[in-house]
């Protein structure tokens, strides 16, 4: 008989496995039983309107939100039982800039490397590589307040990569980045993914997800409403040719993932604005 540990090693493991995750805040149920499995090496997109539960889901994976029930496994490690081992696998670039205000950015990367167990020498070397890669080397001695919005966003991604993560979680990484840099970032992420890093991306640019992701999940009101490769989702959910294309569909390219997104979430810009206001009130 093969021992359980060897079986565990032989079975292809999911990078992230989320089973029946529920989370409620005082006035709202943010996650209502979410199930997601992201195989190793996949480029996975998580799409949803504002307030759908994307950030709560991502924050749960890194331990910033305590779910009410359900299970999260990261590279086989149960987050609740083995938080250190689970977190060691993840690099996170959250939606909100959360960088020390006045510490020089080279030090920020050096410290981040140390938090993931890199020696000072290794951290300095990796920090230099990443700062050069993201065109931030010239700014290495300034605090984040002296960086433009796009530079801060790139710094967040560089910091997320300091710990050489097996899973990179990017929450709106291209928000505020100009087109040229966005394209550069896309090719960098694709390359990273080709080299084996699993990527979990949330974005409001649906075409970005369509272009980059092997699979996407659409979350709405705390539930996954569709999951699969973009092409399959489009084939399954796109509007029929004879359908009226007014209202929220009037500016949407027929046969696109955006069309599927709007159909499944039923969100117009006005509704999103209302939800945003409600979310701000809750916060």
């Amino acid at each position: 008989m093969v021992p359980a540990t060897i079986c565990h090693l032989l079975t292809p493991m999911n990078a992230v496995e989320i089973n029946h995750l529920k989370k409620s805040y005082p006035n709202v149920a943010a996650l209502k039983g979410v199930d997601v499995a992201i195989p190793q090496g996949e480029f996975f997109g998580l799409l949803g309107p504002n307030g759908a539960g994307k950030t709560t889901l991502i924050s749960s994976i890194v331990g910033l939100v305590k779910p009410n029930s359900g299970e999260i496994r990261v590279m086989g490690f149960e987050l609740r039982k083995n938080p250190r081992e689970a977190k060691q696998q993840i690099g996170l670039s959250p939606q909100e800039i959360n960088i020390h205000n006045y510490t020089p950015i080279r030090k920020i990367l050096e410290f981040q490397g140390g938090f993931y167990g890199l020696s000072k020498k290794e951290s300095l070397k990796r920090g230099e590589e990443l700062l050069k890669h993201f065109s931030l080397w010239e700014k290495r001695n300034v605090g984040r307040y002296q960086l433009s919005g796009g530079m801060q966003r790139r710094l967040m991604i560089a910091r997320a990569l300091m710990g050489k993560p097996k899973i990179l979680i990017l929450d709106e990484p291209t928000a505020g980045i100009d087109v040229e840099l966005r394209h550069e970032l896309w090719s960098f992420l694709k390359e990273l993914n080709r080299n084996g890093t699993t990527i979990l991306l949330t974005t409001h640019y649906i075409e970005e997800a369509e272009l980059l992701c092997d699979r996407v999940a659409i979350i709405n009101h705390g539930r996954i409403v569709a999951q699969g490769p973009p092409k399959e989702l489009i084939a399954k959910h796109q509007l029929k040719k004879e359908s009226r294309r007014d209202g929220p569909f009037q500016f949407v390219r027929p046969g696109s993932l955006e069309e599927v997104f709007i159909k499944l979430t039923g969100h117009t810009i006005e509704e999103e604005a209302k939800e945003e206001t409600a979310e701000e009130t809750r916060a």
Binding site: V62, G63, L64, K66, E96, T103, G117
Partner: protein, 254 residues
Amino acid sequence: MKPLIPFFTLVRQEVYRFWRLIKQTIFPPIVTTLLYILIFGFSLGSRIQEIHGFPYILFIIPGLAAMGVINGSFSNACSSLYMAKFDRSLENLLATPLRPVEMVLAYIFSGLMRGVLIGTLILIVALSFFKIPPQHFFVLLYFFIFQSVIFSCWGIIAGMRAKTWDSLATIENFIITPLVYLGGVFYSIDLLPQPWRMVSMFNPLFYIMDGTRYGILGVHDAPLLYSFSFTAIVALILFGVCVYLFQIGYRMVR
């Protein structure tokens, strides 16, 4: 991965933070002590009687040193945590593989380094005027370390709870400062009439001051065993509370 690297990195980050602001974090208490020496030593000191056989300025130096340790440790932990909450860098820290106990220890350790550094510098500056060394070096070290742990832990709890700078200033101005001043920095409780003498015995800061004074001058008001055990027990309890609060993510994890 060497398991202690994340912990020592957080200590380095915290020490870097206060060291970079040395003019705000280290020098002011030293300047204040020099002013006390000037005022109570050379100006008013001759008009005040000796206490326990020591000139007044010498009698208050241990209290001033303890005050430096206490304030340095408290403000290091609370301002660091509060700022990390404010700029949200605490969220990044909580998402790293650092364990709650490592985070607490790192905040304590950096508070301890700042507090003990301030206390030591105050003593070096002050005692150099009188050319006397501390009478019981290891007792002094014991009290410096434990009072620093106590106030670093208190700073951690205050930093976690605080929603505004105002609430931190309230603790410093309306709780810590009165307790320190009434804990016997400037007088011996032998000089107090009842019931104030009894009231002073309930001030936890009194035992810390008294122990520190014994370490430096070799005199004390309260039984030493009380002071030794009291500071160790309070430090241990507060450390446990901090670890528990970090484990449950008090006001940090939603």
